[in-house]
């Protein structure tokens, strides 16, 4: 089923007309209601009247994660707090998170795009959807939750983790759709195998997987082990959360909800827009959001856009699976991690710059993070209990800052290799 056929199957000229009208309104609104945007536009000598259609989009300044950090916590909002009904947050590049705010209309729009996504994936009203994304500041859980309710399907808001219970409910409640990270889906499959539960004995038929990169190989593995159709969903909190784009059951790229979020592909260095079909950095402008509209947000995800019509009948532009990042962000167990966050924690605990190395492995199906920290003089104590307590403090602090657990290992000073004076900070051994 196509949830909103009028929009999802609109002609290119119809879509551009919708985008243009909404873009003009959004630019006006941010210019008049947000000092940061106004200043950036003024620096480029722009007034809202210069943006007459979607063709003028590339005249606008970019927005980056550091703009969000500078505006922490609510500086990017364009409505009074009284109109904000919810906030979410994701990882920032330092200790402070990136905060986003939603009005009541924003939440309705979000539910709509998630509902469209679910329909693309082949989910319908009679389905039972187990949402195993984390509920909380992370947009995954609540995003899928309200989209499922909006569709009229049944939602099981179990949130992340608690694998035995996930499996129990799948069996007893007759779950037909699971929504989680792809690596957790594999973990569920492995656990079921250990428990001698055959996938055929479950009613599971569709998985909605996102929040981390995954390959076609992983898709085949999940589909094979769980006997389901594995659908890729994409989103980021700065734009809305999950539901920015999603695959249909033809699994040939994710349809972008471009009546709300206009995508562009730019060259990550020259920042010039690239012609359709070329690979580059994905940039989004939201054109209906009220609480925190965002113009030309650099996602740092590398991908390309496909404008050919899809066999499903939808005309919405498709984006390929993301093929890497143009920054050093890592996605570990669905959580965005910046090496600079770790740096800021270590700096808090010592006067001088610490040397560290992050080693990420995929053990079985889950990501494991080892953090090696060199014991420089400022950390070293003659007493074991103090070193142990240092390790525990680091572990706790990093866990609370990053939102994932890490194994901290204290190592000797010269252990971590320096290349031309600058240490290599990350070794990612995962084969995704």
């Amino acid at each position: 089923m196509i949830w909103n056929e009028k929009i999802e199957c609109a002609s290119r000229s119809e879509m551009e007309a919708i985008q243009s009208e909404r873009l003009i309104q959004t630019v006006k609104r941010v210019y008049h209601n947000n000092e940061g945007y106004r200043k950036k536009m003024q620096e480029k000598g722009l007034v809202p009247g210069d943006i007459k259609s979607v063709a003028d989009l590339s005249k606008l300044p970019f927005t980056t994660k550091s703009d969000l950090r500078d505006g922490y916590p609510f500086g990017m909002f364009t409505v009074p707090m009284s109109e904000i009904v919810r906030v979410h947050a994701s990882s920032g590049t330092t200790g402070k998170p990136t905060v986003v705010g939603y009005t009541r209309n924003d939440l309705q729009m979000w539910a709509e795009v998630v509902t469209r996504s679910l329909c693309m994936a082949g989910v319908h009203q009679n389905d039972i959807v187990q949402v195993a994304y984390g509920y909380g500041l992370f947009t995954g859980g609540l995003g899928l939750h309200y989209g499922t309710e909006n569709l009229g399907a049944t939602v099981i808001p179990i949130s992340g983790g608690n694998t035995d219970k996930q499996i129990l409910l799948m069996q007893d409640f007759g779950t037909t759709v699971i929504a989680c990270t792809p690596s957790y889906a594999l973990f569920l499959a492995e656990t079921m195998k250990e428990m001698n539960i055959a996938p055929d004995s479950l009613k599971l038929r569709v998985g909605i997987f996102g929040a981390e990169p995954w390959s076609e190989n992983m898709r085949r593995e999940i589909e094979d082990k769980l006997k389901i159709k594995a659908i890729d969903i994409y989103g980021l909190s700065e734009v809305i959360g999950p539901g920015v784009s999603c695959e249909c059951d033809h699994q040939c790229g994710m349809h972008v909800m471009e009546d709300h979020f206009i995508p562009e592909i730019i060259h990550p260095e020259t920042l010039e827009p690239l012609p359709p079909g070329e690979k580059g950095e994905l940039v989004f402008s939201t054109v209906t959001k009220e609480g925190m509209p965002i113009l030309r947000y650099r996602t740092r995800d590398l991908t390309r856009l496909i404008y050919d019509q899809c066999e499903c009948g939808r005309t919405l532009v498709r984006m390929e699976k993301c093929m890497g990042r143009s920054d050093d962000m890592l996605i570990i167990r669905g959580v965005n991690v910046f090496p600079s966050q770790i740096e800021s924690v270590l700096l808090e605990m010592s006067e001088t710059e610490p040397h560290y190395l992050l080693i990420i492995e995929r053990e079985e199906t889950l990501d494991v993070v080892n953090l090696l920290v060199e014991v420089q003089e400022q950390f070293f104590s003659d007493e074991i209990k103090q070193l142990e307590s240092l390790r525990k403090k680091l572990t706790d602090k990093i866990q609370s800052t990053l939102g994932i657990s890490v194994r901290v290992k204290l190592v000797e000073p010269k252990t971590i290799e320096r290349t031309a004076g600058k240490a290599k900070r990350v070794i990612d051994n995962r084969k995704i």
Binding site: V375, I384, L410, E412
Partner: protein, 142 residues
Amino acid sequence: MIVKQVSVFLENKTGRLNEVTQLLGDAGLNLSAFTIADTSDFGILRLIVSDPDKAKEILKKNKFSVQTTEVILVKSPNRPGGLAKMLNLLQKEDVFIEYMYAFSNSEDTAVIVLRPTDLQKCMDVFQNHRGDFLVQEGQYLF
């Protein structure tokens, strides 16, 4: 007497201890006593050497994490109950010991390296006690 003990951070890897002793040996520094405190990932090597400042300098130059800590050297008769007598005294005076280790370089005396939580208090206890536990300058070492 109070001496400077050299502490070195070591990862649990083969060859690390050897490297430290080689460096010190090459520099002509003699080891009187040492001990290793270990955990699953790392250890702390504690050394009593003839020239702790020089040892620290050499190890630092070779990029080890090194620290010096003040410890107390005491002696105890090398016979059953010898150590207990001293520990009884410390317990009575409420002196808490972080760690200790011992070596013996003659048949009748054992030397004990003590790291109390409160160094001065521990020294006072020994100095006020008529039984002379404290090792004196020039005794037993090297």
